[in-house]
Symmetry: C2
DNA sequence: AGACCAGGTTTCCCCATGGATACCGAGGAC
DNA sequence: GTCCTCGGTATCCATGGGGAAACCTGGTCT
């Protein structure tokens, strides 16, 4: 974690993006953007995620100040996760990214098909 | 790769982002945005990347239609990688993301420190 | 007392990513 | 001929992320 000579885009940025854009973060974030959720609410909302991964994701997001963990001292204690102001600032960038993905998915699919075809051809008649 | 029931943000989008925002893509992309580069130019520009990883990154980006591989039939054949028009459309979203990262890095660092401190305290006096 | 839910933690395991290293064929440079 | 560069491919191995599943500590219900 030493900050020696860094090149463009720096490991620091990359690491941050890895923490915030990892496999389940986007789903969790998009869920928490609509309303605060309890742990098992999130599990039900994102059935594919395992407890372990959800816990890890929430901890990571919490550590980076993107979500808050609130222990509600009601009768049997509830845990409520909510997005922070900092977390909210993350939406626009993500939305831009997802918009790009949506808009260009067809072009990308075409590119992939073309690439795979070329590859296959070169394997056959190469 | 079957498209069964998908939830918000879809695996499709996630997978795409994984392909395009992986460890070395940002560096390669930022390099190719300035000028077309040959393989070993890229290696020299991004010394940390290994041949294997650079090859993999370029193939992946090529497959997704983001960069082009051009075989220049000069005397000893050169390979020139350049960004495609589709690839260029990727810049704004990435820039927005990096701008977010830069702008909020201090807040995030503070959040991490606070989190780590809380954790340590709870381990000590828990 | 037994069953059940919330909110996890822990353990085990698999497999994909990535680094390091070696090799390789073609084409100059000496 | 010998060495170097270019543009890779092939191989080995370590690390780590993520899934499955068990366990656990409350608290409620009945």
């Amino acid at each position: 974690m030493d900050t020696e000579d860094e090149f463009l885009i720096g490991p620091t940025h990359r690491e941050l993006l890895d923490q915030v854009l990892d496999k389940w973060s986007l789903s969790v974030l998009s869920e928490l953007c609509e309303r605060p959720c309890r742990f098992n609410e999130l599990r039900r909302a994102i059935p594919q995620v395992t407890q372990k991964s959800l816990t890890a994701t929430l901890r990571r997001l919490e550590r980076n100040g993107v979500v808050e963990r609130e222990v509600v001292s009601t009768r049997p204690v509830a845990i409520r996760y909510r997005i922070t102001p900092l977390g909210k600032t993350l939406r626009p960038p993500i939305d831009v990214l997802l918009a790009w993905a949506s808009a260009n998915m067809p072009a990308i699919t075409r590119a992939r098909d073309a690439f795979d075809l070329r590859e296959e051809e070169s394997r056959m008649g190469g």
